[in-house]
Amino acid sequence: MAAERKVGPNRGETMLRFILSRLVMALPTIALVSVTVFALIRFIPGDPAALMLGDMAQPEQIAEMRTELGLDKSMPQQFLIWAGNVLQGDFGRSIVNDEAVLPLVVSRFLVSAEIVVVAVLLASLVAVPAGVIAAWRQNSLTDLALVGTATVLLSIPTFWLGLLLLLFFGLKLGWLPVLGYVSIRDDLAGGMLYLVLPIMTLVIHEAGVLIRMARASTLEVLRLDYITHARAKGLSEGAVLWRHAFKNAFGPTWTMIGLILGNLLGGIAVIETVFTIPGLGRLMVDSIFARDYPVIQGCLLFVSLSYVLVNLVVDLLYPLFDPRVVAE
């Protein structure tokens, strides 16, 4: 019995190593994401300088712009210049109104983020317990009803659901505003009225996804021997479910919550269109219509980097639910 314990006693060091390795692992992803965003805009057919200046530009203006943008330099050089600017917080300026891109993106991002974060939080609070209960009562009527509802909910496209809710609560009942937007920073009570429907829409849809996820991962865990062992110890069902099943089953759902958070940030454009909210998604779509490439580029970069960040945080918190990942 030479090595009784497989892991050294120094748990602090193992944890530090885990955190550092996850941080370092995110670096190449961030670099490649930046390259992709840079390349994507460069793939757009036509001369970026001409595109940026619009149809009315004179040849000499274009030449000047080319020098200004560094387009006469080689691609890697161009990338480094761009990346250098980005690191200093300079995301360029909008072609349409010459606004600085970063502050624009950040202010719109905050609008989207408050909706998304609240929605995901509420959806998790409802859906995770529901999923665990469905798994616990597998194949019972409760389970069938919950899974059936979840499948229907996740099949309803958010923009249609939003439209229906708007039709019902806004137009028919007249309880909530239909058009426009007031920031909660300007008017807390009034602003919140505008957020109810978009958040409700997202909660309904994402709850469908999360119920199924939580159910599936709980089922996986409930099959395992330590659940039977916990019961054989004489624990009550509540203790078995909460102390032994839930904590182990929550890991995959936790990862899923992170993915949903990021996906919503990227896909919120439709919701913002339905509810006329001036968020990041709407900004991106409007910029695509306006061919405002610096803004498109800024949105892409900002959202994908925040997605990487969210997933990194999710990863770093994962050991709370499963201490094994630290050792691997």
């Binding site: 923009f159 249609w160 439709v270 695509i288």
Partner: protein
């Protein structure tokens, strides 16, 4: 077990209805879906127009049938594109391992680091907002998921003893790949491709809803919903039916996908 076959059946029926109406829409629709009629503007559903007419007096049912065709067509091409490219990339990556795998997977993960529809939006800016732009944009956006799943399957299959048995028999790597690995990857590929078909239809309608998809007047469910939006107060059917089509299609695909997964999951098949 019974429950799943029942759900799968409902899913199958919903998808069959979708495919049939798309096919029927190719040869016959109740009315010409593009024909304007100012006398029949915003007509409520009734004997004449089963599902009513839109703000230009066009028959909604006919337009939905043609829209179904667009959804199926775009969905199928997108899934086909992503499946072929993703499978090839996944096979090469899982097969080569070493630095080739490292490079491919680094790029793949970077593409996966773009949330959902965002990469498609960026690509649409490149390809332009039209039917083929959508297919390429969505196809490229979905390829990394397929590549990752196939690579994962290849890597786990490589550890299985029947792959080692093939090596002991002296079979070449390529033969083993085609004869043993690829056929055993088909289950996860099928399951993912089914979900992808749903994602593609949803994304296409979302993009069309945003005005970045198939441009009007050609009907798609998404752009019908967008066009009908200003009129929903007077003509609720304009907001109802296109959305219902999308939701029922997605429901069908989800039910069918669940049934497929349960059927193809190796844990359900003979294995302990």
């Amino acid at each position: 077990m019974k429950k799943f076959t029942f759900n799968g059946l409902i899913g199958g029926i919903l998808i069959a209805i979708l495919l049939l109406s798309a096919a029927l829409g190719l040869v016959w629709t109740p009315f010409d879906p593009m024909k304007l009629s100012f006398t029949a503007r915003l007509a409520a559903p009734g004997a004449d127009h089963l599902l009513g007419t839109d703000e230009f007096g066009r028959d909604v049912l006919s337009r939905l049938m043609v829209g179904a065709r667009a959804s199926v067509w775009i969905g199928a091409l997108t899934v086909g594109f992503a499946t072929i490219c993703g499978t090839l990339i996944g096979l090469v990556s899982g097969y080569a391992r070493g630095w080739v795998d490292g490079v491919i997977m680094a790029v793949n993960n970077a593409l996966l680091a773009f949330p959902g529809i965002l990469l498609a939006l960026g690509l649409l800016a490149v390809f332009g907002a039209n039917q083929y732009g959508i297919i390429f944009a969505l196809g490229i956006a979905y390829t990394p998921s397929m590549a990752r799943v196939v690579r994962g399957a290849v890597l786990s299959l490589r550890e299985r003893e029947f792959i080692e048995a093939s090596r002991v028999m002296g079979n070449g790597e390529l033969y083993t790949m085609v004869r043993h690995i690829l056929p055993n990857c088909l289950a996860p590929i099928t399951v993912l491709a089914t979900s992808m078909f749903g994602w593609a239809i949803l994304s296409e309608s979302a993009l069309s809803f945003l005005g970045l998809g198939v441009p009007p007047p050609a009907p798609t469910w998404g752009n019908m919903l967008a066009a009908g939006r200003p009129f929903v107060e007077q003509a609720v059917w304009l907001g109802l039916f296109p959305g219902l089509c999308i939701a029922l299609t997605l429901l069908g695909i989800n039910l069918l996908g669940d049934a497929l997964r349960d059927k193809l999951d190796p844990r359900m098949r003979g294995l302990k």
